[in-house]
Structures are given as C-alpha cells and as structure tokens.
C-alpha cells in the first residue's frame, strides 16, 4: 500500500469576510494549494470538500470557480471535523490505489449564519432544554476544576497562550495578545467560561493536496510531508455515564492513529488540537496522551506548551486565536502542521520539529460521548 504525502497547502486569512462567501474562500485556498504544490491543476484526480452550513454542492461550486470539471467529488459533513474528514477520505482514496493526486478543501462562511453561541441541532433533547456548546464545555470545566483543583487563572492561561501565538500568525482572526486579567474580565458566557474562553465565529477556508508515493516523487520536490495516519472515530454510546473530564473518544482515535503511524505520544513534537473552548485544549492534550490526566493546566503554567516549550500546543493560535470556521478548521490545522514541519512560519516557528499531530473533535448527539473525532499524524 502506498504512503500518503501532503504536497501543497493553502489557506485564506481567517476572520470576518463580509464581502465573500464559502465558495470564493474555498477557491482562494485551493488556488494557493495548487500554486504551493507547483502542479498543473489538471493532474488533480478527485476532490473532497468539508463544510457544515454552506448548503448543497459547495465543493462543486468551488471547483467550477477554478475551472476544474469532471472529477469525482464528495461533500463531507462531520460537524467541526468535516474538513479533517475530507482529508481522511482523500488519503483513503490514495491508499486504496484509486487515485494519485487528490485535493481536500474545508470551507465555512459562518458570520452570515451565527452571531452568538452555536447550539446543537434543534432535534437534540439537550438543545431543547437550553444546551449551548459553551454551556456543555463550561460544565466540563467546572467538573475538571472540582476533580483536579485547576484554578480559574490556570484555565485563563490557555487563551492567553493561544492568542499570543495568533498575534504572530498573519492569517489569524485575532492578532492581539491578551492577559489573564483580560480573560477574567471578559463577558461571562456560561460560568466559569467567559468570552475569551470561547473560539470566535469565523469565516475561512483551507485546502491541501495529497499524493501517492509515486506522485509525491514526481511533484514533491523534496517538500512533501508524510501523512502517516488519518484516523476517524465516532463516540461510543454510554452504557454507564463516563467521566466528563477525560475523553475516551480522543484517546481511542489517537490510539488508532499512533498504531498506524508506528509511533507513540512520546514521539510527538507539537500539536494542533481542537480548542473550541479553553477547557477543550486541556481535555484534548490529555486524551492524546501528551500529558497525564489532571496535569496539563500546571504544565501550561510552567510554559511547557509555549512555542519554545517542551511540547508546543496550538502554535497557530488554535481555534481560540486563529479562529474556527467549522469546515475550514481541520484542514487549516494540517496546513499549520505542514508549514511548521517545513520550517515556513517565521517568528512562531518551532525549532526543528519532526512529528506533528492535528486533532479535531466536533458535534454533539445526546447519549454519545462526541460525534466525530479525527487524529492526523504528519511526519517530516
């Protein structure tokens, strides 16, 4: 079976794009990925497009914008993991031997859809009693504080870190560093979470071009990054309630990815994780096995997750700083990991990384731990 390589990457600026839409943003990201790969667009054999709220056949509209026609294409919806799922599908098409050059696009124009907190699908029984996404994570934060003694100030250090990283990322939604005091003084959303603990409503798109061994040799020019694993899981149905301070779904998805990549958490040099809320970063890095349960907040306090720390987390700024255009998010994470591994990100560059992990987790359905989780491992 062939290995899979990421050869071209592109992404738009993340933020508010009142004069654009998901199609234009997707086309911009795709054209940049094609240029980055240095390929004739006609060598692209298939496409997958991840988005959540952009309506029917968004991927086809994007391909039409850039003049590509006649390809097999599927639009992919998996909540906040939609873009990451598109990459997985692209990688499977290559591993299956069906294609040699496949593009995965993730796009979302969210500011024309939502102003405030995102809520689960209205059919969900928990949405019916007033659940919002921030309130669900707020409840997990309160329980984590109770069980592990995390302080409110420790939790605030996560948005402080990620927005400091975003300030060094010209494509990020937020470009201004903040303090713990700023987090604590920001508007309460769902206690104990305030506005700075929540990822913003963002527009943006990203695209990656993945290739087989054979195509990467031909087009990669030594810049190809190996996609060693692209794993996907849905949450199991709880037979008995499980802890809300640990994520078996993240752990199970990661176990599959580590096994496929032939590495363990000790080999990971940095990660981009799904920090939709401050507490989410804690749950994710502990679920990935990168820090022991209950220990991440203190590690952040010691600077271990900073860009110059032992294990940088969300050097791009993460969802909290870079922004969270649902479908675009998972693809943009892989764009950041690839650029870090290539050494292309300027003053937020991690020193000499070899292995990077991208983790997405999204969606909510009552009675299951989480809807869709992806873990992708990239190796230089």
């Amino acid at each position: 079976m062939t290995d899979v390589f990421v050869v071209g990457v592109g992404m738009t600026r993340f933020g508010k794009h009142p004069d654009s839409d998901a199609t234009e943003l997707g086309a911009e990201a795709l054209l940049e990925a094609i240029a980055d790969a240095g390929i004739d667009p006609r060598v692209i054999e298939a496409a997958y497009c991840g988005h959540v709220f952009q309506g029917m056949v968004t991927g086809q509209r994007i391909l039409a914008q850039v003049g590509l026609a006649g390809l097999p294409l599927a639009n992919v919806e998996n909540a906040c993991s939609s873009g990451a799922t598109a990459i997985r599908e692209a990688s499977l098409a290559i591993r299956a031997g069906e294609h040699d050059v496949v593009v995965a696009i993730g796009t979302e124009h969210l500011t024309n859809q939502f102003q405030g907190a995102l809520t689960p699908d209205p059919s969900d029984p928990e949405a019916a009693v007033g659940a919002t996404m921030p309130s669900i994570y707020a409840m997990r934060a309160r329980r984590y504080m109770e069980e592990f003694g995390m302080t409110r100030e420790q939790l605030a250090l996560i948005p402080v870190k990620n927005k400091s990283n975003a300030a060094r990322n010209p494509l990020a939604h937020f470009r201004k560093a903040i303090t713990v005091e700023d987090v604590l003084q920001s508007r309460p959303i769902a206690d104990p979470l305030n506005l700075h603990d929540c990822s913003p409503v963002t527009d943006g798109a990203a695209a990656v071009i993945v290739m087989s061994d054979k195509a990467a040799k031909r087009y990669g020019k030594g810049r190809a990054i190996r996609l060693a694993a692209s794993s996907l899981r849905t949450g199991s149905v709880d037979v008995v309630p499980t802890s809300m301070t640990f994520e078996p779904l993240t752990a199970n998805t990661a176990a599959d990815a580590y096994e496929r990549a032939g590495i363990g958490p000790e080999d990971v040099d940095f990660c981009e994780v799904h920090d939709c809320f401050s507490i989410a970063e804690v749950l994710r890095v502990e679920g990935l096995g990168l820090f022991a349960q209950g220990e991440y907040p203190a590690a952040v306090e010691r600077g271990e997750a900073n860009i110059n720390g032992r294990l940088p987390v969300n050097p791009s700024g993460g969802l909290l700083g870079k922004g969270h255009p649902l479908g675009g998010t998972g693809v943009a994470q892989v764009v950041e990991v690839v650029r870090q591994l290539r050494g292309e990100v300027g003053d937020r560059q991690i020193e000499g990384p070899r292995v990077g992990v991208a983790h997405c987790r999204g969606g909510k359905a009552v009675g299951i731990e989480g809807a869709a989780c992806t873990v992708q491992i990239l190796v230089r």
Binding site: G116, A117, T119, P125, E126, A128, V129, G130, A131, T132, P134, S135, A138, M139, R140, R142, R143, E146, R187, P188, I189, A190, D191, P192, L193, S236, V237, D238, V239, V240, P241, M244, V366, G367
Partner: protein, 138 residues
C-alpha cells in the same frame, strides 16, 4: 400552579393529568442497561429487546453551569446541569427551585414538571427542571 398536560417533548417526557410525570427511556431486557432517549438497540450487548420505561425522578448533580448567553427563546441567566440517575444515566436539565449561587456539585436533585415554552399556536407546554431535594422539603 396549573400545568398544561401537553409535554414539550412527548417522546421524552410523560406528563400526567395530575401534574406528575417522568422522563421516558429504554431498558435492555437482555443486559439491564438503560438509555435516554428511547433507543432501538442496546449499545452494551446490541440486543434489540428493549422496553420503554419510566425513569427515576431523583438523582445527584454531576456538574452545572450558569448560562448567560443563549438562544432567543431562553431567558438568561439560567442554570443547566447534568443529573446522574440510579439507572446509570446522566440527564441534562435546567436547575430550578433555588438561587443560582446555592447550586453545588453532588446535590440531591428531583425532577420537577414546570411550564416550558409554547407550541406554534402559543399553547403552553410542560417541560422539566431538576430542583434540589432540600428545596422541596421547605
């Protein structure tokens, strides 16, 4: 307090004429696991022999939040929590019957039927909240 006898979610909350009611779930007749809402098959043993049952009305508060920003049809602030029932279920509901700053993890809670919004013809609906057991004794 008079309550409408129309449940806000008839498949999930049974409302009786006397103002009492309960959440509705499934019990697996093969392994005994419980589920909410009703399911077609057991995720523990995959048996499809499931029975629709009334769920316990008392449990323990696992965690909670005070929600300060929500959808337009929910008046903020309100307390939202997860209550663990003895069947091994964790149920989300709003918390009522006490001040917001009195809520604590581990409190004993009881299901309480309360007015909960309106249908599309503006008829009142009945939903549920969890209230502290102590508040009921007062």
């Amino acid at each position: 307090m008079t309550l409408a006898d129309t449940s806000f979610r008839p498949g999930e909350l049974e409302v009786r004429e006397d103002g009492t009611g309960n959440l509705i779930g499934s019990r697996c007749n093969s392994c005994g696991a419980h589920f909410f809402p009703v399911r077609r098959a057991c995720s523990g043993c995959l048996s499809a022999d499931l029975e629709t049952v009334a769920l316990s009305t008392e449990g323990t508060l696992y965690t909670f939040s005070i929600v300060r920003q929500s959808l337009p049809n929910f008046e903020v602030p309100y307390a939202l929590g997860y209550v663990d029932l003895p069947e091994g279920l964790r149920i989300m509901g709003q918390i009522g019957g006490c001040e917001l700053d009195e809520i604590r993890i581990g409190m004993a809670m009881v299901l309480s039927l309360e007015p909960f919004g309106q249908d599309q013809h503006h008829n009142p609906l009945t939903g549920y909240r969890f209230t502290p057991v102590e508040a009921q004794d007062d």
